[in-house]
């Protein structure tokens, strides 16, 4: 990976715990992420992967511990499951991107994000007319249009066919190499994580970090 990784963390969790009514999902999580890293997040269902991301994004409130996110690092987010309303939302791809930005003329930024994700051809189409893979790429473009320095992808390839997944991973790889942005990528697929990322986190109530993602295959092949 050509992206340069710097030493000062852009995200830091210290003893972070979070629980819902039926108990803790995350317990005493300590974690540092550095600018330019491409980090895979794996773990069993219900292990706390999405909760970890939602804490990071401020969607869930911090209950215990402390968390630091470098305020200079804007975060782009592509959720695991878009809400049901997105699937028949009457909006064009262009509207989804433009309305994600503050007021003003952002035509260049929109076109640039569409070009990077190879979705320019869908610009005038309704998001409801796109396939799962096309829609996912559009929502990556939506995240990119915000000029993020951290990109958070929560199981981005779920429900996408294999050829589209390959296109998708090449695109993320290229994006990481060119922009040097920090990428957090949640996936169920250990092989993909081992192949694509520079570091891997195993989340199951606590977080274990593997500096060599391939190690995850030996330790957690059952995931």
């Amino acid at each position: 990976m050509s992206a340069k990784i710097r030493n000062k963390p852009c995200i830091n969790f210290e003893n972070v715990s979070f629980g819902y009514r039926d108990g803790d999902v995350l317990q005493n999580v300590n974690l540092s992420l550095f600018p330019g890293e491409y980090v895979g997040i794996v773990g069993p269902n219900g292990g706390g992967k999405t909760t970890l991301l939602k804490l990071l994004l401020g969607i869930l409130p911090l209950q215990k511990g402390s968390m630091f996110v470098d305020p200079a690092m804007r975060i782009g987010y592509v959720p695991q499951r878009l809400s049901q309303s997105v699937f028949d939302f009457p909006a064009t791809v262009e509207e989804v991107l433009v309305n994600s930005l503050p007021r003003g003329d952002h035509r260049k930024a929109v076109d640039c994000a569409l070009q990077i994700t190879d979705t320019m051809k869908y610009k005038k189409r309704l998001i409801s007319q796109l396939s799962g893979g096309e829609r996912q790429r559009v929502f990556i473009a939506r995240a990119l249009v915000l000029s993020p320095r951290i990109l958070v992808l929560d199981e981005p390839a779920t429900g996408v066919d294999t050829p589209s997944q390959d296109v998708f991973y090449r695109m993320i790889d290229r994006l990481h190499a060119l922009s040097g942005m920090t990428i957090l990528f949640v996936s169920h697929d250990l092989e993909i994580v081992a192949r694509e990322t520079t570091r891997c986190l195993y989340v199951n109530r606590t977080v274990t970090s593997y500096s060599c993602p391939a190690d995850i295959l030996q330790h957690h092949h059952h995931v």
Binding site: A91, V98, N99, L126
Partner: protein, 265 residues
């Protein structure tokens, strides 16, 4: 010139109708895409309690209705946040509003006729005071929507995405239901409590059949709504039909027309 415009009450009706035809589908589109279309009908029933209260306390019924509906909308959003299913919350407030109205009606003396005019709308009884309240409300609501159009769009698209961008969704949800409450109260004056949801929702459903993006759908819905209200006023005057019913029937015809257009092309 049309004979219809020789009467001051019809001029008032056209002014109020045109403003409402723009306002109603704008809020209606957001209600439809948020899968919350029943909110309009619920608030309309709550507003009846406000109307009766207005007559009892001798304050303008439209103002009393705006106040009551506004409070109910805030209450609904607060209860919905406690994870009670959206639809169930609507039933709670719809029944509650209607129950309060029927109980309060017992104490009313001599205003039954006027109160019942709010059920089906009564364009003939619209006063200049009603016109001004409606204009101020419509301009206020449309200004807020156009200033924060992108935020309302994002929250309607996906709340998690909006929240991840730092949008305080609870605040925006409260603001949205408050605007919906204002809209329902003023729309009710023209088409009546029983048809208020129709003027907000049917033009939107008709516009959605054309399969355009969000903004164009909104503009088409406004066009259909304007056509329905203006044609409805003409029909009600020249053929002596109930205004609210005529407006909604024309909007319904537009819906069926666009539905047939979509499924035949």
């Amino acid at each position: 010139m049309f004979e219809i415009f020789q009467f001051e009450f019809m001029i008032r009706a056209f002014i109020i109708g045109i403003f409402l035809s723009v306002l109603a589908p704008v809020l209606g589109l957001f209600l439809v895409v948020r899968r919350y279309p029943g909110l309009a009908d619920t608030l309309a029933h709550v507003s009846l309690a406000g109307v009766v209260l207005g007559f009892l306390l001798k304050i303008p019924p439209l103002l009393a209705s705006i106040g009551t509906t506004f409070l109910a909308a805030i209450g609904m959003e607060a209860v919905r946040r406690k994870k009670i299913f959206g639809e169930s919350v609507q039933v709670l407030f719809l029944s509650g509003g209607l129950a309060i109205a029927t109980v309060l009606l017992r104490f009313d003396q001599g205003n039954r006729q006027e109160i019942f005019s709010f059920f089906f709308g009564s364009i003939a009884t619209v006063s200049w005071q009603d016109v001004w309240i409606t204009l101020i409300t419509a301009v206020f609501a449309l200004t807020i929507i156009s200033l924060f159009y992108r935020t309302f769009f994002l929250v309607a698209l996906d709340e998690d995405l909006a929240q991840a961008q730092g949008v305080r969704i609870h605040f925006w949800n409260f603001l949205f239901v408050a605007l919906a409450a204002l809209t329902v109260s003023v729309v009710m004056r023209v088409v009546g409590i029983l048809l208020v949801g129709s003027l907000m929702i049917i033009p939107v459903l008709a516009a959605l059949q054309f399969g355009y993006g969000f903004f164009r759908t909104m503009m088409i819905a406004i066009g259909i709504s304007l056509f329905s209200v203006i044609a409805g006023l003409f029909f009600s005057y020249y053929i002596d039909l109930a205004t609210g019913g005529a407006i909604v029937l024309i909007a319904l015809s537009c819906f069926f027309g666009s539905f047939l257009y979509k499924h035949s092309s």
